[in-house]
Symmetry: C2
Subunit: 572 residues, 2 copies
C-alpha cells in the first residue's frame, strides 16, 4: 500500500467520509494527462490513459474499459478492477456501483477540479436520498504537492496570420456578437484548445499537445487570460493562473455580471469559484466548439501542407521497414524511433499522440501504445502504423497497415481490401447537406457489415489544434451534422485477436458539391500510398478502382507542396 | 361561402371567439378519414388527405403541404392557401401564423376530439401571454350532425388463432404485466389498430382499414370495449361508444384509480373526460406500439401468404397492361379497375389504400391519387403502380414501375437501375443489432446520393394491421431501432417533374444472422418480378446480380403458397 493511500484514508477518517473519487482526468480535462497532474496514476500505480478510482475506508476500486483490464490488474496492486461491459462508460459503471461501495447515510468525497458539472449532477442524482457529496480539494492539493511540477520551459509561440487565417481581434468580434446575442457579460473559456484557437498562441509544454495550460474569461471588450506559472507571452496580456480568480471581479467591472459557462466542460471548482464571487451564472453551449471545427482557407492550406509532410514521413518509414526489417532485424521499437526521427527531421517539434507501432498479432490491440524492443518484425506479417505530429500548432493523424515481406497471404489481402472498401465508401461519399455523423458511419461500415464484420471504435473524429477534436464525430451514436470545411478522419479497421489488425486512416474534409448544392462531397486530404501487395483488385468495383487511381494521382501532386492545387470536389 | 362557414362565424360571434381551428383528422386520428367524419372537407371543400383550416371572423386560411398546393387553391374557394416549405409540418406552419391571425387578447376555439395532448401543449405554449384557447365541441357536433353518418353495416369478424397467433387472453396478460410494473390500474386504448391487435376483431367498415371505430380501457382483469353504434360482436362484451365514458368509473371500481394515457396519441377530449371522472392520469408510452410491431410466427406466415397473393395480382396487372395497352387503348383508370378486380378475385375484401396508377410524367407526383380516364398509356412510357389490399385483416403494400411497350430508353434504364441499386442495398443489408432507421435509410440512399440524387419521402414504414404502422420507420430522422420480426417496406424512388417517376417498393423483415449473432439480416418478403427491360445489367455489381438471381428464384418458390418454405436468412 503506497503512502498516498494511507494519507487519503487518514483524511477520510478525520473528516468522517466513507470514500473518495479519484478521477484520471486533470483540471484541464486534457486527453493526455501529464504525469505531474495525474493523481490517479500516483495513487493507484495504474498508468493507462483512462480509469477512475474509488477508495473507501475498507476497499480499493479501479474502473477501466476493456483494453486496460489486464494492465490495470497488474499495476494497481491491491485494487479490485472493475471493467466496463457492453459500451457502458467508466462513469456509468462506477455510478452504478456507488451504492454498494457507500452503503447508506455516508459521504463521498471528490475533487471539484476534475468533475464537470454534468457529471456532478449525475452523481448528485444517483446519491440523493441515501448519501451525499463533499468537495475534498485539500487532500488532492496535498497529493499534488508531492508530484514533480515541471518548469514548463517550452516557449510560447504565436501562429502566423498566414497559417491561422484569423487574428485574435477578428475571433474576439465573433464572440462579442455571441455575448451580445445571449445577454452575457462574459464567457468562461476552460478548454485549452479553445484558448489556443482564440489567442493563436501555442506551446509544446504538455505531452502530445500544442495548447497551453491556463484559463480565460472573455468579455465584450477584453480577455482575461491566465497561464500556468512560468508561461508568459507578450502577445496578449496574461496573469498567472493563481491570480486568475482574484482578478475576475475587477475585470468584470460589475458584481452583477452574467457569466456564461458550458456545463459539459466546466468543472465544479469553476462553478464554486464563480458562485463565491456572487455573479450570475448562465449555462450555455460553448460557442468556440463550432467556430473552431470549421477551418478557414489559410488553415486548410496549412493543414494540407502538414498532412503532406506526415504522408511523406509515413511513406518513408514504411519503405525503410519493408527494405530493412530482415537485415537490421527491426523491432517495433525500432520503427517507433525511426518514425519519430523522421517527424523531427520534417520540422515537427511534437508528436500528436504516442505512435502505435504494432507488428503481427499486436495489430489487433486497438490502442497498442508500447512498441516492444523484443518484438522483431517477421517476414509475411502485417504492420500497423498509426502516427501523427504537430506542425506549427496543428495536428496530423494517419494510419497505414502494410505487409512486411514479399508475399501477402489471401486472408491478409481479403482483410485489407475489405477495410479499403469501407475507407473508400467514406472518402468518396457524396452526402445530403444535413447528414449526421452516424449516417456517414453506417455508409462506411456497410461493406464490412455485409460480411458480418465490424470494428469496435468510431469511424472518425475532428482534427485541428488537437488530434481529437469534436465535432465532428463519425460514429454509431454521433448526431453532429457534417459541415463544409470541417477536417476529420475516416478510419475503419478490422481486428482479429491473436491474428492481427488492419486499420486505414485518412483525413478528409467535406466541400460543397458544384453539381448539386443540396449535396456535399467528402474529399480526402491525405494520400500516403497504400500497400499494393495487400489489395485484392478482384474485390473492387469500378467506382472503387476509379477512386484508387485518383488517390495515386493526388499523391503525385502532393509531392509538389507548398504549391498545392486548389481544393476541388472530385467525381468518380 | 357555404352555410357551415356562416354557422361557424355566428358561433364565433356569439361566443366572442376570434377564430376556430378545423383539423383534417377525425376523433380516431385515422390516416384515411371517412367522409362522414371529415368536417374539414365539409367546411372548406378541399378533399385532400391532409390540411388544417383556421377560420376567423374575417379570414379563411387553409394549410397544406406542397403536393396539395394546386388542388387546395382550386377546391377551397375563398380560402387563403398556405403551403409548407422546407419540411415544416402543417401544424408548425399554422402555429407560426397564429399570432398574425389572432392578434392579441383573443381566443382560438378548437375541437378537443381532434387535438392530441402533445399538440395542445404546443398550442398553449405558442399562445400563452397573448391569447387563449377554448374548446368548441358544440359547434363541431352540430356540423357533424349534418354529415351523413352511415350505418357501418360491414360485419365484424374475428381473426383465426392460426393467423393472428395469439388470442386476446395472451395479449391481455402482457398488458396486465405492463400495468403491474407501472403501478397503473388501467390504460386508455385509443388507436383503432391497437384495439384490433388486442381483440383480434376486424371489420371493413372504414375506408382502407380493417380496424373498427371505437375506444377501449384495459385493466388488470378486464377490458371495457366500446364500438361505434351498430357494430356489435359476441366475441368480447362491448358497449356502444356513447355509453363508454358513463361506464368507466363503475368499470374501474375505484374513483382513485390511476389511468395511463399516451400523450402523443390521446386527444384533449379524452383527457377532459378522464379529468371529469376525477381519476389520476399518468402519461406513459403506449405499450401496444412495440408489441404490435413485432410479428409472431403465425402472423409472419399469414403475411407472407398475403404478400404472395398481392405479388400475383400486381404481376398479372403488369402483364395485362403490357399486352393490351395498345389494342384496348388503356387509360390509368382502366389499370385501376383491372387491379381492383384482381384484388377482389384473389380474396381481398378491401384495399389498403387508394391505388396509385401513374402513367408517364404523372409518375413524378409522389401521391398521385386520381387515375385519369383520359390519360391513355403511351408506347415507350413508364407506368408506376403502387397498390395494396387487406387479406384477413392484414395489409399488403407493393410498388412496381414497368415499361409500357417494347424498348426502354437509356434514361429510363438508368433511372430504374439506380433505384434498383438503392432497393438492393436495403433488401440485402446486413446490419448491426441496434441499427436505427436513419442508418438503414442512409445505406439505401447512398447509391443515389453518389449520383447527386435523392427522393423526398421516407425509405420505409411498418406494415401490419394498418398499411402504415410505426415503428419501424426508415427515414432520415428515424431513431427507431430495427428489431427481429418487424415487417416494413423498402421503397426508394426517383422523381423528375414533367418527366416521370420510378419507385420500387418491397416488403421485408429482419432476422437474426445465423453466422454472427451481433448482426441482423434484412430479408425480402415480396418477390413480384421486376421489369427486365428496365434493368441496365452493366450498372450492377456481382453482389447486386447475385441478389437479383436470388429474388427470381424466390418468386418461383412463392408461387407454391400455401406451402411456403421456412424463412431463413440469405447470404449473397
Amino acid at each position: 500500500m503506497n503512502s498516498s493511500i494511507e494519507k487519503i484514508r487518514n483524511y477520510l477518517k478525520n473528516h468522517r467520509l466513507k470514500a473518495i473519487l479519484v478521477r484520471s482526468t486533470d483540471k484541464y480535462f486534457n486527453e493526455y494527462v501529464p504525469r505531474f497532474l495525474s493523481i490517479r496514476q500516483h495513487v493507484t500505480g495504474f498508468d493507462g490513459s483512462v480509469g477512475d478510482a474509488i477508495i473507501s475506508d475498507t476497499g480499493l476500486n479501479l474502473f477501466v474499459d476493456g483494453r486496460y483490464a489486464l494492465q490495470a490488474s497488474k499495476q494497481a496492486v491491491g485494487f479490485t478492477v472493475h471493467v466496463c461491459q457492453n459500451n457502458e462508460s467508466i462513469e456509468s459503471l462506477w455510478l452504478r456501483k456507488l451504492k454498494e461501495i457507500l452503503g447508506v447515510n455516508n459521504i463521498l468525497a471528490y475533487d471539484p477540479e476534475t468533475v464537470d458539472l454534468n457529471l456532478f449532477n449525475r452523481m448528485e442524482l444517483e446519491l440523493k436520498s441515501t448519501n451525499s457529496l463533499k468537495s475534498a480539494r485539500e487532500i488532492f492539493q496535498e497529493i499534488e504537492k508531492t508530484l514533480p511540477d515541471p518548469e514548463l520551459k517550452e516557449p510560447i509561440f504565436k501562429i502566423e496570420l498566414d497559417i491561422c487565417g484569423e487574428d485574435y481581434s477578428k475571433k474576439h468580434k465573433k464572440l462579442e456578437k455571441f455575448l451580445q446575442e445571449n445577454n452575457l457579460d462574459a464567457f468562461l473559456i476552460v478548454k485549452l484548445d479553445d484558448i489556443a484557437w482564440l489567442t493563436n498562441l501555442r506551446s509544446y509544454c504538455l505531452p502530445f499537445q500544442s495548447s497551453i495550460p491556463g484559463i480565460a474569461l472573455i468579455t465584450k471588450s477584453d480577455l482575461l487570460l491566465a497561464f500556468r506559472k512560468n508561461l508568459k507571452t507578450d502577445a496578449l496580456k496574461t496573469v498567472g493562473e493563481q491570480e486568475f480568480w482574484p482578478h475576475v471581479l475587477e475585470f468584470l467591472k460589475s458584481p452583477k455580471a452574467v457569466v456564461g459557462i458550458d456545463e459539459n466542460q466546466t468543472s465544479k471548482a469553476h462553478e464554486m469559484a464563480l458562485q463565491a464571487l456572487g455573479v450570475e451564472i448562465k449555462n450555455i453551449s460553448n460557442p468556440i466548439t463550432n467556430l473552431k471545427a470549421i477551418k478557414n482557407e489559410k488553415e486548410l492550406l496549412h493543414l494540407r501542407g502538414a498532412f503532406a509532410k506526415a504522408d511523406q514521413v509515413v511513406y518513408q518509414t514504411q519503405n525503410f521497414v519493408k527494405e530493412n526489417f530482415e537485415e537490421k532485424s527491426l523491432s517495433e521499437a525500432d520503427v517507433d524511433s525511426d518514425i519519430q526521427d523522421r517527424f523531427k527531421k520534417s520540422g515537427s517539434k511534437q508528436l500528436s499522440f504516442r505512435p502505435i507501432c504494432a507488428s503481427g498479432k499486436n495489430g489487433a490491440i486497438i490502442h497498442y501504445g508500447s512498441p516492444d524492443r523484443s518484438q522483431k518484425l517477421k517476414e509475411g506479417s502485417l504492420f500497423l502504423l498509426d502516427t501523427g505530429a504537430y506542425y506549427e500548432g496543428y495536428a496530423t493523424d494517419l494510419t497505414r497497415t502494410f505487409l512486411v515481406g514479399q508475399e501477402a497471404k489471401p486472408w491478409q489481402k481479403e482483410m485489407f481490401t475489405l477495410v479499403l472498401k469501407a475507407s473508400i465508401a467514406g472518402l468518396s461519399a457524396r452526402i445530403r447537406r444535413g447528414t449526421l455523423g452516424l449516417q456517414l458511419d453506417a455508409i462506411v461500415r456497410a461493406p464490412l457489415w455485409q460480411k458480418g464484420l465490424d470494428f469496435a471504435h468510431g469511424t472518425g473524429h475532428g482534427v485541428g489544434i488537437n488530434v481529437h477534436e469534436f465535432p465532428p464525430r463519425i460514429g454509431p451514436t454521433s448526431t453532429s451534422v457534417l459541415l463544409e470545411n470541417q477536417v476529420f478522419s475516416i478510419e475503419p479497421g478490422l481486428y482479429f485477436k491473436d491474428v492481427g489488425g488492419v486499420r486505414i486512416e485518412n483525413l478528409a474534409t467535406v466541400v460543397s458539391d458544384p453539381e448539386n448544392n443540396d449535396f456535399l462531397r467528402v474529399l480526402p486530404l491525405t494520400f500516403c500510398p497504400l500497400d499494393e501487395k495487400l489489395i485484392d483488385q478482384s474485390m473492387l468495383d469500378t467506382h472503387e478502382q476509379n477512386f484508387l487511381n485518383y488517390f495515386k494521382a493526388e499523391w503525385q501532386k502532393e509531392a509538389s507542396w507548398p504549391s498545392l492545387p486548389p481544393l476541388k470536389s472530385i467525381k468518380f
